[in-house]
């Protein structure tokens, strides 16, 4: 055994040990899984972000909900082709030791092409993979490939585009099922919003209970693939890379359905969330970037790892967010969880595709400090804002009016100065528990109009402004908010000099305002 192989097996062993502590109570000894993932591909492949984390997630679901014992679940992340070949040998030995009619589950997530898997800089041909799987001593074999052009593996002896998938309930399932995340000329896509590849995300969601169409507490291979393929196609329909059509090849026979997971069974270590209200839900675990999107008819249950979850429900006129504690082997009801309406801007910043942008309008009134010794001003403005996940942009248009009183001692006239301004602010917002704070930079133009008491005409002059700005916003439900703004603009103005002539000066000022806003 060379050093690399030793490291591989050590790593696999470490994962097995880590999973062992969380072994499900309903482990089925005859189940063996090989989970392979590699974020890296060939030199020309773009590095993936979620392939290896998807593999970890799948391994947890298989061991907790699928009855795969931890020491029979081999996980290879970022390993070589040689490591995969060795792992296939280990899997074979485990299968030979397994009682009854063992089930083999092989999963690959990473880059691929129509010829083979890109495991790092090396390739493992689809022909070799399929032959190796068929050579393993299992009664039933399930191969899942989540990769670009994965459909090619289903075409090694002909495949089918995904249609409703069912296994005839005849006898114990035997044979080979191949599930591919994409067509043989398609790209398999990842999403930052869900923190996963589309196909694996929906496959996992299905395995966790969302695919349990007949509500019997078990998720069969057919239910899982049917759910994952439908949701993957729907989610990628409008994507830049185009729709992704999962494919399968099925050579299974048997009286019973091939059950992959049992999310409804107690003792798994997972908790259950009952989506006992119909709706469109986005489920996010506290601290996780990814979001699970579930459409519920009101009777769905999904198995979740213990933790605190935020469940956002997108309703026609608002967003409702509930926080739910999921405890091990306990069920929690969404309907019973306290919920609150949430401002659209906050939802946008959380990401997850619940809402890509939100728009708002606000009316503000406030004051500005003295500029050019012409006096402090009352100010009024309207602001139109677009909130995106990473930043907000606000167009502000307003006017202010300052009055420099006459000086009777020297005969200086009073000066009324009206300033009309328009600015664009780029803001980075942070949502705190009760308020949203934002800070950024504002730049714009200003038109001063000076009217002297001693003269009937007004002098108009243009200037530029730039400076930091900040705001605090108190949401009042999803549509309304109160807000307070502050800014420290620098005015760049061409000014008359007391000795004659003009010069451009920078004038520092402060502005505060408060008002109310509405979101769309």
């Amino acid at each position: 055994m060379n050093a690399r192989a030793a490291r591989t097996l050590a790593a696999a062993g470490a994962l097995i040990v880590s999973l062992a502590g969380a072994a499900a109570a309903h482990a089925q000894p005859g189940r063996v899984a090989l989970v392979i993932a590699n974020d890296e591909g060939h030199a020309e492949d773009v590095k993936l972000h979620f392939a290896e984390s998807d593999a970890d997630h799948l391994a947890r679901v298989l061991t907790q909900l699928g009855g795969f014992e931890p020491d029979s679940t081999f996980v290879l992340r970022g390993r070589s082709v040689a490591d995969v070949r060795r792992a296939l040998g280990d899997v074979g030995r485990r299968l030979r030791e397994a009682p009854g009619e063992p089930l083999l589950f092989v999963y690959y997530s990473g880059h691929a092409d129509a010829e083979g898997l890109h495991i790092g800089r090396e390739s493992l041909s689809l022909v070799e993979l399929k032959a190796a799987v068929l050579a393993l001593p299992a009664a039933a074999r399930v191969v899942v490939v989540d990769a670009c052009q994965a459909g090619a593996i289903t075409r090694l002896k002909g495949g089918h585009a995904a249609t409703p998938f069912a296994v005839a309930p005849e006898e114990a399932p035997r044979g080979l099922a191949i599930l591919a995340s994409s067509g043989d000329a398609e790209l398999a896509q990842e999403s930052d919003d869900i923190g996963s590849s589309f196909f694996t995300h929906y496959l996992l969601l299905g395995l966790q209970g969302a695919a349990d169409d007949n509500r019997d507490g078990d998720v069969s291979l057919g239910e899982a693939f049917d759910f994952a393929s439908r949701r993957t196609l729907a989610a990628t329909m409008g994507s830049a890379a185009g729709p992704q059509h999962p494919m399968y090849r099925l050579d299974l026979r048997g009286q019973k359905e091939l059950v992959l997971t049992r999310p409804g069974l107690a003792g798994s270590g997972f908790g259950r969330l009952a989506l006992d209200e119909p709706g469109w839900f986005f489920v996010r675990r506290a601290g996780d970037a990814g979001v699970m999107e579930v459409v519920s008819g009101g009777r769905e249950q999904i198995a979740l790892e213990p933790g605190r979850y935020e469940v956002a429900s997108r309703l026609p006129d608002r967003l409702q967010v509930a926080e739910v504690d999921i405890r091990s082997d306990a069920a929690a009801s969404l309907a019973a969880a306290p919920s609150r309406r949430v401002a659209f801007g906050r939802v946008v910043r959380k990401g997850g595709g619940v809402r890509p942008l939100s728009f708002g309008l606000a009316a503000l009134a406030g004051a500005r400090s003295d500029v050019a010794d012409l006096g402090a001003a009352w100010t009024g403005a309207v602001a139109a804002r677009v909130d995106a996940p990473a930043a907000s942009f606000e167009l502000r248009v307003g006017a202010d009016r300052a009055e420099l009183p006459a000086s009777s001692a020297i005969g200086a006239p009073s000066v009324a100065t009206t300033a009309a301004f328009a600015s664009l602010a780029a803001l980075r917002a942070k949502d705190l528990r009760y308020v949203t704070v934002a800070a950024g930079l504002e730049a714009g133009v200003v038109r001063f109009s000076e009217r002297f008491a001693s003269d009937t005409t007004a002098r108009a002059s243009l200037g530029a402004t730039v400076g930091p700005t900040a705001l605090v916003e108190l949401p009042l439900g999803p549509r309304f908010c109160l807000r307070a703004d502050a800014a420290l603009p620098v005015y760049l103005l061409r000014e008359r000099q007391s000795g004659g002539g003009d010069e451009v000066h920078a004038r520092f000022a402060g502005r505060v305002s408060a008002g109310a806003g509405v979101y769309f």
Binding site: D373, S407, I410, L462, G463, S498
Partner: protein, 216 residues
């Protein structure tokens, strides 16, 4: 920066309030302790038809008798006298304003030296008390220079470029007429104080009783 170059230049407040003309001088003697002595420009109509009017507020005289009257703007339009052409009454040949420098005891503390209508004899409104007039200088504001030599006694001043000008007065006491020429730059005014009076003395007629006649 490019935007900041468009339109007119903004006139900052400090420029609005910067004096464009100053008259400095002393009273003789210095005010008595506790006396609220001020000096004001009292704008009078050399044609003798408009009421006298102080503008701006009077400036305080310090204990040593020094004062400086600062002016930050042109006089109000109603203080400026337009001289019509004798050939065409609708044509203005010159526009100017004329002021005496008057010292007064500001007994009501409002800073203003108020004078009644000319028709009533330009009486000083109580409780302020007239304390003197500069016999040597008068203040002019030229809005439109007189290029037609309309008023020979004033032309040396009102033909000057637009703006304030301090004029030196040469008074002929026998004729009660004054002749006005531009004072030297930096000239210091001197106001001799007189005993308290409630009406302007006859001597100021040297400055104002002259009724100029537009040139034919």
């Amino acid at each position: 920066m490019a935007v900041a170059g468009c339109g007119n230049a903004l006139v900052p407040g400090d420029v609005v309030r910067a004096p464009i003309f100053s008259v400095a001088g002393v009273t003789s003697p210095a005010p008595a302790p506790g006396e609220a002595l001020r000096v004001a420009a009292l704008w009078v109509d050399p044609l003798g038809s408009l009421d006298d009017r102080p503008w701006p507020l009077g400036v305080a005289v310090d204990a040593a008798g020094s004062f400086q009257l600062d002016l930050a703007a042109a006089p109000p339009a109603e203080l400026i006298r337009n001289l019509p052409s004798s050939m065409d009454p609708n044509t203005t040949v010159a526009s100017f304003a004329f002021a005496e420098l008057v010292a007064f005891d500001d007994r009501d503390g409002d800073g203003t030296f108020s004078v009644g209508p000319i028709a009533d004899g330009s009486l000083i409104e109580s409780p302020d008390v007239y304390r003197g007039t500069s016999a040597a200088h008068a203040l002019f504001y030229v809005a439109q220079p007189d290029t037609a030599a309309s008023i020979p006694e004033l032309d040396a001043v009102i033909a000057l470029p637009p703006g304030y000008h301090l004029a030196e007065v040469t008074c002929d006491p026998t004729a009660m007429r004054g002749r006005f020429e531009e004072a030297m730059a930096g000239a210091q005014d001197r106001i001799p104080l007189v005993p308290d009076a409630k009406s302007l003395p006859e001597s100021r007629g040297c400055l104002r009783s002259h009724v100029p006649t537009p040139a034919p």
